[in-house]
Amino acid sequence: MSTKSDYRRMEGSITLAPLSEQIGSQRLSSELLTLNFGPHHPATHGVLRLLVTLDGEIVQDVKPIIGYVHTGIEKTAEDKAYWKVIPVVERMDYLAYYFNALAFCGAVETLLECEVPKRAQYLRVIHLELNRIMSHLVWLGTSALDLGAMSMFWYCFREREQILDLFEMSSGQRMHTRYFQVGGVIEDIPIGFAEKVREFTRIMPGRVDQYNDLLRRNEILLQRLRGTCPLDERTLLELGVTGPLLRAAGNPWDLRKAAPYSSYEDFDFKIPVGTVGDNYDRFAVRIAEMKESVKIIDQALDGLPEGPYITEDRKIALPPRHELATSMEALIHHFKLVTEGFRVPPGEVYYAIESPRGELGCFVRSDGSAKPARVHMRDPSFVNLQATAPMTRGAYIADLIATLAMLDPILGGVDR
C-alpha cells in the first residue's frame, strides 16, 4: 500500500518540461555520448566500425575505423605471376569481381600494349553490366532491409540468383569467376547463354519497375530518404567521391561515357543524375542505372561480333587445346605460360574504370619480370567512406543508418 503511494509521489515529482524542448537545443546538449557502432552490426554492411559522437539523437561527428578485413591482397599480388593475380584481386570488392579483374587486366594490357579482340570486349561488357545489376541488387536488398522493408531483400536476391546462374553458365563459378584474362576472356560463352541472358533482360526492366512501385511512394521510405544527409557536388569532388554518389548530386561523371574503355562507346545508354544529392537521389540514381545496364547488355548481345575471344598473341594467352597435340611451339608456349607466366615490359600505368561504386583504378608497376612489382587498387569504397562524416554531421542517428546504406561501402574493397 505504502509502496504504491511512494510510487505516486515519485511519479508526481517528475517534470516533463525538459523533454518538450527541441532536441539539440542548448540546454540538453551539455553532455555528449560517444557510441561505438560496429564492427559487427548488420547496418554497417560488413566489418566497419564507426565511432559516433552523439548529442542526444544528433550525430556530432563520425570517425570510421577500418582494417578489420585487411588481408594484404596487394602484398600477395606481388608474389604471384600476372595471370595468377586475377583471382586474388577479384576478392577485393567482392560484389564487383568482374570490375576488379578488368581494372587489373586493363592495366596489364596497357603495359603489354596488347590489343583485346572486339568479341572479348563485348563479352566483357555483358558480364560487367550483369555484375553491375547484381551489385546494385545486393545494395537495394540490404539497404531496404536497413530501412525496414523486409520483402525487398527476397525480391532482389531472386533476380541476383538468376544473374549468378548466368555467371555459373559462362565460367563455372557463381562468384569470383576468374572469367576475364589478360588479353580477353578465358572461354567463349556456351551455347544457350545468349538466350538465357535475353530471358533475363526481358524480365528485368519490369522487375525494376516493381521495386520502384514498392518503394518510391512508400511513406516510410520517403521519410527516411528524402532530404536526409545531402552533400553538395563541390564537397563531394573535394573528397574524391565518384560513382552514383556524385551523380546523385547532379554531376554526370561516368567513365563509361567520359573515357570509354572496352568498347563502351558503341552502346547507347543514358547516365541517370540526381538534383540535390540527398539519400533519395542516391537511391533513385542506382535504380535507374539498373535499367540502363539492361539496355547495354541487349545492345552488346545484338552486336556481338564474331572472332577470337582472347588475344592470338601466344606469349600472353594460352594456346587452344587442339594445338597442343600437333604443334611444338604451342607446347612450349603452354609450358612457359603455366610455369613462369608472361613477362611484362618495365613501367607503371594507372588504369581506371567505372565500377558500381565509382572510379576503380588499378596501378601496376612492372620491373620486367613475370610478377608485378606493385599492384594498387584505388577502391571507390575506400575513398567514398570519407564522405560519411560530412554527410551525417547534424543529422539524426537513424539517418546515419540510411546514409550508410545509400553510401554502399563494400568493406572487402575498403580494407583490401
Binding site: 602484398k75 606481388e78 594498387h376
Partner: protein, 170 residues
Amino acid sequence: MPDQVGLELIATELGVVVPGSVRETAFFRGQASVWVEPAHVRAVLGALRERHGYRMLMSVHGVDYYPEEPRLGVHYELLDMARVDRIAVKLRVPVDQPQVESVTPDWPTANHQEREIYDMFGVVFDGHPDLRRILMPEDYEGHPQRRDFPLGGEPVLFTHNDPSSPGWTR
C-alpha cells in the same frame, strides 16, 4: 592525357611557377607523369589545379622502388573532368628520411590515402591532421608493403605458441 609536347609545356611552366620543383618528365603508354622534388609537391599540385584545371585528385598511392634509391615513391593521380585529362605527379624519398609535405589541407580526399601510405610504406606526411595507421592494428610494427618485408613471415598465434596463453590446453 596531355601528349608529350603538352607535358613538356606543363613541366616547363611548373618549373617557372614553383622554381626547382620539376625533376623530370615521363611519357609512357600514353600516360603523362611529372617527377617532382618532395619539398614542392603541395605547391606543384596547387599550381596544376589553379593554372591547368586538374581539380580532382583521384588517387594517392605509394610504391617501393627497392633496390633503387631513393626507395619510397608517392604518386598523385590528377584528373581534369572538363577536358577528361589525367596527369600523374610522382616523387621519391629515401627510407631514412621519408618526409613528404601532406596535401590533405588542400585535398581532403588525400586524408585516408596518405594514412594508408604511412601505414604500408612508412612515408611520413608533415602537416597531416591525423597521421595514424589505418589498415594495420595501431600497435603493429613495420610497414608491410615494403619490398623487403617478408611475405608470410609472421607466425600465426595458436594456443600452443601464444606466450600469453595460460596453458590450460597444454
